[in-house]
Amino acid sequence: MSAGETTRAPAGDAVLSATDVTKIYRMGEVDVHALRGVSLELRVGELMVLVGSSGSGKSTLLNILGGLDQPTSGEVRHRETRLDGASDAALTRFRRDHVGFIFQFYNLIPSLTARENVELVTELVDDPMSPKEALELVGLGERLDHFPSQLSGGEQQRVAIARAVAKRPDILLCDEPTGALDYKTGVQLLQVIERINHELGTTTAVITHNAPVGAMAHRVVTMRSGEIQDVVVNESPVAAAELEW
């Protein structure tokens, strides 16, 4: 079934779209078919959750949508602009101007403090939040000058979120943001993401292998073996605080 035709957008036009995208990696001496003809749209203002087991291709899809990687074949667009086959400089520009990323392992620069990690981004764009404002938004206003090694996992991930949203991106892409966190910290984190989606209207996609998280989304897309298996529209999303797993 084709995702784009059967799912109703909770709001507006497609910000990002992938059409018939495939991706083949060469890992050492084996070919890995990570995506096998995937089509999907991410629409303005929506909060989408991508679920699926490890190796189902969700991270690959998110990386391609975010301009971190190129598809082997198929078409990827940001509004009207083609991203597949775009130059490295064009993709850099796209990521810089439009996308905020959050990764499972935080990927903070260990030699920079929380504030400096956020400054890495605010230096790059025209109208950013102040690093302090961004860190306050994720509840870390008190820990501005701590190095990553002095922060807990949840705190580090919140710095990563602050870093991602400080530049006021149109799109927030989160790859297993709670993957390395315990239940309580994970829920707090999802609340932050929810708040950004609601208050700032940032189009958000969250990858998780944790199916119950889908309850907070407008749409839940399930992936398996490099294909989209199922798309479910959620008419009444649950608040992140009420999630349980």
């Binding site: 490295d88 850099t92 620069i109």
Partner: protein, 795 residues
């Protein structure tokens, strides 16, 4: 923005402080290269400037000629020669200064005043009064060596007459910056002095009233020197002229040029080696840093940083390290350069000699080292930047290892698991292993060169000189004397054996190739003489009845072979032109010579046998004893004697002088080479440690001891060092070849390319010691390996 520093700049500072050890060791290698370059270039430039200023200020001549005696009116004919701008005719004569308490009386070169060319620069005092008979200005190097001051009285034997000379001034002349006394191998300022005296006094002493015996000329710009020399020779020939020479062949200038060229060559040959090693190190270290920071680079790319910004970041990292090294190198270089200049200033007498580092040299040094660093960095960063960020964020795929020779039955049995891990790593990254071995090998090569000069000098003195010169005392005569005049010497007490030596100034040619030199005549076939012809293989050459034996290089320069006829223009006496068959060649370390039997030589000259030097062998109990002093006094009292040299002093002076400079150079080169060894080994060990931290920690968890995991890590380094040593000895051999041919004027002096086993042993030992120290430093890190945190960190 209120902040001064971009967050990436802070990352830069913190990254650098985390890798302090590596920053310091690489910066030191850069510093050595820059320092060597700056020191040698500055010393070279400073000396060259001082020389040129002196030459210009005191009108150093372009052409020099010596003759027996010509009337002053001949000056007009010399002035009339096309291309001649200025002529100075003077009297230059050899004398002896039998100083009180000095065993071997120093020789005096007496030069008549006034001079219009090659003028005296006064350091203190005044010039001799006109018409004064006993006043003189003494050369300052000699004055310093013999502690002579204005107001002192010095005895002088000139033209067989002894007189007391009053020193009224101390000065120096561009014609006598460096001096080599007859029979000397090394410059010893205390062995020869120059006395500048009023012309009348010199004329009277030598009975040369109204005449001159030496000419110096200045040429008009672009006048062809060789044409002028031909005409000058034609004018002076009837007056005993022995062939004019250009300033390149003038003794002081040619010695000076040789020293300066040597320094200039070293300045261009040595520093690039250091910078090459620094570039290699930066490449190896930055490649690893970039790999370790792969995911950070990917994150920056995900955040929207472009390749250029990230590339710029690593370029700044490298530039900081290189700049630190370059700054240190500039300071060290300026200091070393100044010490070199001050060392040279005790040999080279210039009115003003100031050490300065010119901006151009500094800029070249910094520019080249930064370029080397940039090259090393660029090659390291390029690969990671080419990866899409998503891929860079994933840990790299496990390295591909293959089963190879090591897994064959036999090797499997003898190699334990650890040894196999070490060897597989080497097999897997042969390029990296080769790069570090190459760097260490350069250091080994530098160590070999550092010791080579000492070994070569020792060989020349202890082996070659002892074989060729078997006399104890050499006596130089003012002019050729009949053999019978040796009789006086034979009568002296303590003298065991006396032999004459004849040297004849000639110009030899073959076709259009020619050289001016001396033919030496030996008694008999020369094999039992007190001075012999000995080849580099230490075999004494027996001279043939007829024909001449040539220095091998001379044969090559003239393109002559055994059996060819050599065209000889004698430059004294009747100035005959004859031809001599080439009978053989001999490899010799010093100069260009033609050796003949004395009988054959005199037949050639059409003269009765004569000698212009006597070689004395003393009774063993007299040689070296205090009674030798009395002997010297008796010898110098003989007529026509212009110099006395003792073999023991010749050797001692030569050793003393070369030891000082060689020791200093050897120490500097050894320190520099150690810096490279530690730089390469330490950085490689750190890189290897960071790459294999997880493997090693896993092994510790499995129960390996610290010693065992150290063996795995350090085993790889040991292989690099062990590969480097033989390679480095080869490099050393090559550098020695380059130095012995490029660093000296081969026509003056050929350093034998000998590298003694002790030199190789020294280089290998120093390298191993440097490697061992570096290994200890890394071993300390290894002992502190935090097992749990290493295993928890995500690659």
């Amino acid at each position: 923005m209120s902040r001064v520093f971009h967050p990436l700049d802070r990352k830069l500072v913190r990254d650098l402080s985390k890798m302090k050890g590596q920053v310091v060791t690489i910066a030191l290698v850069v510093a050595c290269g820059v320092a060597a370059f700056v020191a040698m270039r500055s010393a070279h430039a400073s000396l060259l400037d001082a020389r040129n200023a002196f030459y210009a200020d005191r009108y150093f001549g372009d052409v020099f000629a010596t003759l027996r005696r010509a009337p002053n009116v001949l000056r007009d004919r010399l002035e009339a020669i096309d291309g001649v701008a200025l002529v100075d005719t003077r009297i230059v004569a050899g004398g002896v200064m039998p100083l009180e308490g000095v065993a071997e009386p120093p020789t005096a070169t007496v030069v008549s005043l006034p001079l219009s060319l090659n003028q005296v620069h006064l350091r203190s005092g005044r010039l001799p009064a006109s018409r004064s008979r006993d006043e003189a200005v003494v050369s300052d190097a000699f004055a310093i060596a013999r502690d002579i001051g204005v107001g002192d009285v010095v005895p002088l034997i000139l033209g067989g007459i002894r007189k007391d000379v009053h020193i009224v001034g101390i000065g120096l002349s561009p014609e006598h910056i460096l001096m080599l006394a007859p029979g000397q191998l090394a410059m010893d300022p205390g062995r020869q002095g120059v006395l500048f005296m009023d012309r009348g006094a010199v004329e009277a002493a030598l009975r040369l009233e109204g005449a001159f015996n030496s000419v110096s000329l200045r040429l008009q710009n672009d006048a062809p020197a060789h044409d002028v020399i031909d005409r000058v020779d034609a004018v002076l020939a009837p007056y005993g002229g022995i062939g004019a020479i250009t300033r390149d062949k003038q003794l002081s200038n040619s010695l000076l040029s040789q020293e300066l060229d040597q320094l200039g060559n070293m300045a261009t040959q040595v520093p690039p080696l250091f910078l090459l090693v620094a570039a290699l190190l930066l490449h190896v270290v930055l490649s690893r840093i970039v790999q370790l920071q792969r995911s950070q680079i990917a994150t920056l790319k995900a955040l929207g940083y472009g390749n250029r910004q990230i590339g710029f970041f690593y370029a700044k990292l490298a530039a900081t390290i290189v700049s630190l090294g370059a700054a240190l190198g500039l300071m060290l270089g300026a200091w070393l350069g100044a010490s070199m200049v001050s060392m040279y200033s005790s040999f080279f007498r210039f009115p003003t000699l100031e050490s300065h580092v010119d901006v151009r040299t500094a800029m070249i040094a910094v520019g080249v080292s930064v370029a080397a660093g940039a090259f090393g960095t660029f090659t390291a960063v390029r690969k990671v930047l080419a990866l899409p960020p998503a891929e860079a964020m994933r840990p790299p795929a496990p390295d591909t290892y293959r089963r190879g020779v090591l897994d064959m039955g036999f090797a499997r049995k003898i190699l334990g698991g650890s040894a196999r891990m070490v060897l597989r790593e080497v097999q897997r990254r042969p390029l990296r292993v080769f790069a570090s071995s190459f760097g260490i090998a350069i250091a080994v090569g530098i160590l070999v060169v550092g010791r080579f000069f000492g070994d070569a000098m020792t060989w020349m003195v202890d082996v070659n000189l002892h074989e060729t010169q078997r006399w104890d005392v050499q006596v130089a005569f003012r002019e050729p004397l009949p053999l019978s005049s040796l009789g006086n010497l034979r009568l002296l007490p303590g003298v065991h054996r006396v032999e004459g030596l004849r040297s004849v100034p000639v110009r030899v040619s073959s076709g259009s190739r020619h050289r001016s030199l001396a033919i030496l005549g030996y008694p008999g076939d020369g094999t039992t003489a007190l001075q012999r012809v000995v080849g580099s293989d230490n075999r004494t050459v027996a001279l043939p009845e007829q024909g001449a034996v040539l220095t091998r290089l001379l044969g090559d320069l003239l393109h002559v072979h055994i059996g060819d006829e050599l065209d000889v223009q004698v430059l004294e006496g009747a100035r005959r032109r004859v031809s001599v068959p080439v009978a053989g060649f001999v490899e010799e370390p010093f100069g260009l010579q033609v050796h003949m039997r004395s009988s054959a030589l005199h037949a050639l000259l059409g003269q009765e046998p004569s000698v212009n030097a006597a070689l004395l062998q003393l009774d063993p109990q007299v040689a070296g004893a205090t009674s030798a002093r009395g002997l010297d006094e008796r010898i110098t009292a003989l007529p026509d004697v212009v110099g006395v040299a003792h073999m023991a002093n010749v050797v001692e002076t030569f050793k003393k002088q070369s030891e000082q400079t060689i020791l200093a150079m050897s120490i500097v080169l050894t320190i520099f080479a150690m810096t490279i060894v530690v730089g390469v080994v330490y950085n490689n060990a750190r890189v290897a440690l960071s790459m294999r931290e997880r493997d090693l920690a896993s092994l510790r968890v499995l129960g390996f001891t610290r010693g065992e995991i150290s063996a795995i890590l350090l085993g790889e380094l040991a292989i690099q060092v062990l590969l480097a040593i033989p390679l480095g000895l080869l490099f050393g051999r090559f550098f020695v070849h380059a130095m012995s041919t490029g660093a000296t004027d081969p026509e003056m002096y050929r350093l034998p390319e000998i590298v003694l086993p002790s030199n190789f042993a020294f280089a290998a030992t120093v390298t191993l010691a440097g490697a061992f120290v570096s290994a200890l430093l890394v071993r300390r890190k290894l002992d502190k390996l935090d097992l749990i945190s290493v295993l928890k960190t995500r690659e």
